[in-house]
């Protein structure tokens, strides 16, 4: 294929960063786009052209990829932009007033004014949140959370004004009995020695003794279920991959964490990065993978730095690389891939396309990832939290592990508490803890307020009522109650929360994040958002009852006929608000 390139040249700065990719291939497109964006803050025609020349990619395709991601701009913008979260937890904590002030003082959100509206930044425990990116020879990021208008304005205008380093809050830090979070907030996340002093890498040693099938047996018998939202049995996934004769096999650790209200994986990666690396290594060993990709959402700069450090140190001491821990023939390494602002890339097949340098559109299944995944090869995709359970299983033994939780939902579980709650943060509890007990742990709603509703499982989840707090948080109880634990979101709304705006935001989220591939979701999410605006604003097409009917019909086609989980669940939370919370009645009365 001969490439026809545009007749535009890159600037010197652009050329220098792109030339570093000389000799590489299509799968480096996303990293190359990041390199340019980090250097100059946007992707010019000259820069994209040069990327295409160096990586040998048709410019129309590279343009299609670059324009897929919301962290990239294909039109000029200033080196510094502040992404201001307007998503669920931040909305409940004053994001709207904050944005109104920014609009007044800086002008409407956009490239010119230097601030942009952003979906959930994954720091909901410190809402409202903003994240500043500044391009330059050394790109800088600064997390502002919790923030206020004055701070955002100061940061947009000048340099940093904040001394804290964006460290996560961990209400349970140091509590006895923690398994997944035992090191978080306690052990230095940069030190491999500290990691080993607290039991790190004993699980990998055990795994190497057990052998791949022994590890798979332990994980299967532990009944470990995926924590990324779909609750698929991990042992089965590993086994199916391990059995594929085709080589190589790949592992993808899904750290895209973009479900609004979810921030547990961030806490794990920032607080215990070596555990993530060790867990991936064990998974790679079990499923016969020679390489692992850690796909990290682009809005997690602190996790990126800590994971890079952890990988480098693990390599130095032969915990990654060839013949790991002296085990002849076991080689495994990890590459971090930064996402660039696209919730859909967390879907397990979209993530492959994104890594390969294509648009992050989900693939049609079958074939399933265990047969044909990344680069067409058998691939295991697991969530960060899922993987971090594996060392717990191997060190405590699968029997001890199954005694945690219930028979249908084994082990410890992380929940992300945010919204109107006194002590927001990530909480580790055994499966089976009731919703009420969990809320109590987090201090309940602020004093003097009343609980209105809880959004369980995220934007793709559903609402439960204050009279349902005795719900045991297990996969089976959630299913029986017609709801879901999803990615562990527990977003609390009290009587001061504006449910209508909250629902409109959920609708807007799906519309913004739809990849656009299939009709039910691409157009359905737009019609859903329009109808929600009408319903909440009491400006019905003819009657609100008719708008409700329209919503239900659109919801049904999205659920039945969308390609992937995004479209299939885009109506769940709104439906549950209408029926379970009684918003349908409220809206039509």
């Amino acid at each position: 294929m001969d490439l026809k390139l545009l007749d535009v040249e890159p600037t010197e700065a652009e050329r220098v960063v792109v030339d570093l990719f000389t000799g590489m291939g299509r799968d480096q497109l996303l990293p190359a786009l990041h390199a340019v964006n980090d250097r100059v803050g946007w992707i010019s025609q000259g820069a994209l052209n040069h990327i295409c020349r160096v990586l040998h990619i048709p410019p129309a395709e590279a343009y299609g990829v670059a324009s897929f991601y919301s962290l990239f701009s294909l039109t000029e913008r200033p080196a510094k932009v502040v992404h201001v979260c307007v998503d669920l937890a931040c909305q409940v904590n004053g994001a709207k007033a904050l944005c109104d002030r920014l609009t007044d003082e800086l002008g409407p959100a956009g490239a010119k004014s230097g601030w942009l509206r952003s979906p959930c930044l994954g720091v909901c425990e410190k809402a409202p949140a903003a994240l500043a990116f500044e391009a330059g020879e050394v790109a800088k990021e600064q997390l502002l959370a919790p923030t206020h208008a004055g701070e955002v304005i100061a940061v947009a205008a000048a340099g940093s004004s904040r001394s804290d380093d964006g460290r996560a809050e961990m209400p349970q830090a140091g509590s006895p009995g923690l398994r997944l979070l035992k090191r978080v907030g306690v052990v230095d996340p940069e030190s491999l020695d500290d990691y080993r002093a607290t039991g790190g890498y004993t699980a990998l040693r055990t795994a190497l003794l057990l052998g791949p099938s022994g590890v798979i047996r332990e994980v299967t018998d532990a009944k470990l279920m995926g924590r990324g939202g779909a609750a698929f049995p991990t042992g089965r996934k590993w086994d199916a991959t391990a059995r594929q004769p085709v080589r190589p096999h790949y592992l993808v650790c899904n750290a895209d964490e973009s479900e609004p209200g979810t921030f547990k994986d961030r806490l794990l990666m920032e607080g215990d990065p070596f555990a993530v690396i060790e867990s991936m290594t064990i998974a790679g060993f079990a499923a016969g993978c020679s390489k692992g990709y850690l796909y990290l959402r682009g809005e997690y700069p602190r996790a990126l730095h800590l994971l890079r450090n952890a990988i480098a140190k693990a390599r130095e001491r032969n915990f990654l690389g060839e013949n790991i821990m002296g085990h002849e023939g076991f080689s495994f390494d990890i590459e971090i891939r930064r996402g660039a602002g696209a919730y859909i890339c967390g879907e397990e097949t979209a993530i492959f396309n994104s890594i390969e340098g294509f648009r992050g559109e989900p693939r049609s299944k079958p074939p399933f990832p265990v047969e044909q995944g990344l680069f067409g090869k058998p691939t295991v995709v697991n969530n960060v939290e899922t993987l971090v359970n594996v060392p717990v299983i191997l060190t405590e033994g699968c029997e001890a592990y199954t005694r945690i939780g219930t028979s249908g939902s084994t082990g410890p579980k992380l929940f992300c508490l945010s919204g109107n709650v006194s002590r927001p943060g990530v909480y580790e509890v055994p499966f089976g803890t009731t919703l009420g007990a969990l809320l109590e742990l987090a201090g309940g709603v602020p004093p003097g307020r009343e609980l209105r509703a809880v959004l369980l499982g995220g934007a793709a989840g559903g609402f439960v009522r204050p009279d349902e707090l005795d719900l045991p948080l297990t996969l089976e109880d959630a299913r029986a109650a017609g709801t879901t634990l999803g990615s562990g979101v527990v977003l609390v709304l009290d009587d001061t929360a504006d449910l209508g705006s909250f629902l409109v935001r959920i609708a807007a989220f799906f519309r913004d994040e739809s990849c656009g591939q299939c009709v039910p979701c691409r157009i359905g999410t737009v019609r859903q958002e329009e109808a929600m605006h009408r319903l909440v604003g009491k400006r019905p097409l003819s009657t609100s009852a008719q708008d409700l009917q329209l919503l239900r019909e659109v919801g049904q086609v999205m659920r039945d006929s969308s390609i992937c989980g995004l479209g299939q669940t885009a109506w769940n939370a709104i439906e549950s608000a209408l029926d379970r919370l009684g918003y349908a009645e409220e809206a039509t009365s």
């Binding site: 048709p58 410019p59 395709e61 999410t525 329009e530 049904q556 969308s562």
Partner: protein, 285 residues
């Protein structure tokens, strides 16, 4: 596609289709099975010369045991599969998909859509006058073909034909995301500056008339396009030795369009600029 497979004879797979037992060769799709028994299923993004894009979702059917409906154009039959094409759910889905499409795009030149819509009672206007649409001015930036993206349903066929499935020119791609997704060259540069070689293969596969030959477009504009007066003659292109089949569409003793039969083993419906557009000289009288 009627590429004759010269492999081993295929085993037959038995499935139940709307209550009737049907046997089709292994590897066939549900759509193939429907076609075999004379059931017609609406399709838009399916192309007989292309790999399924699975994008339009107008062909969805119900398969017992599946949580969601499945695209008949790409899902392969399996032994014992129980398929329903005319259930409550499939009818609802078809109706809504057509309504959603019709509410956002101009389907006036998409064949069959009117019949499908009236068959299921679809009414795209019920999303209200303020429903956001993709309507936009037509792009005419070259003498050979016209792009009217207000009619585009994002079926991916043109991109697939231009890319690695046929033409390998990669002049166009899907850009943007969600409702903002669109077919575009890099930075939306005009076609003459892009990698386009004017093979017209994208126009050949476009199911909506979003892409059309300039000649056809102009004649439609001035009201002189009349398919009932057109004859089609298939001949062989004389420009080179490949031997592509050309189908000349002639109206009032004038060539108005050139296509190529999809079942031709030489072209599979594809041509190059010479075969597709190099006929003007014939009628320079």
């Amino acid at each position: 596609m009627t590429i004759v497979e010269i492999g081993l004879p295929k085993r037959l797979v038995e499935l139940t289709l709307d209550g009737e037992s049907v046997r089709v060769p292994e590897g066939a799709t549900i759509l193939d099975a429907c076609t075999a028994v004379g059931k017609s299923i609406p399709t838009l993004c399916y192309g007989d010369t292309l790999k399924p894009a699975n994008a339009c979702r107008v062909c969805m059917v119900e398969v017992e045991g599946s949580r969601t409906l499945v695209p008949s154009c790409s899902r392969k039959v399996e032994p014992g599969m129980v398929v329903r094409t005319e259930s409550e759910r499939t009818r609802h889905s078809r109706k809504l998909v057509l309504e959603l499409l019709g509410s956002a795009t101009d389907l006036s030149t998409t064949p069959h859509v009117d019949e499908w819509m009236s068959a299921c009672g679809a009414d795209p206007s019920r999303f209200g006058p303020d429903a956001e649409t993709k309507l936009q001015p037509t792009t005419v930036d070259n003498p050979l073909y016209v792009r009217d993206y207000g009619k585009c349903i994002m079926c991916y066929k043109c991109v697939d034909a231009c890319g690695d499935q046929w033409q390998n020119s990669f002049a166009i791609s899907v850009a943007g995301r969600g409702f903002d997704a669109r077919i575009s060259t890099e930075f939306a540069t005009p076609l003459p500056e892009s990698a386009c070689v004017y093979c017209g293969n994208c126009i050949e596969v476009c199911p909506t008339g979003a892409l059309s030959f300039k000649r056809e477009h102009d004649k439609r504009q001035d009201g002189t396009w009349d398919e009932s007066k057109q004859s089609q003659t298939t001949t062989i292109c004389t420009f080179c030795g490949v031997g592509c089949n050309l189908t000349l569409h002639v109206q009032d003793n004038e060539i108005v369009k050139v296509t190529s039969p999809h079942e031709s083993t030489v072209t599979h419906g594809n041509l190059c600029i010479k075969g597709r557009f190099g006929w003007q000289h014939v009628q320079n009288r």
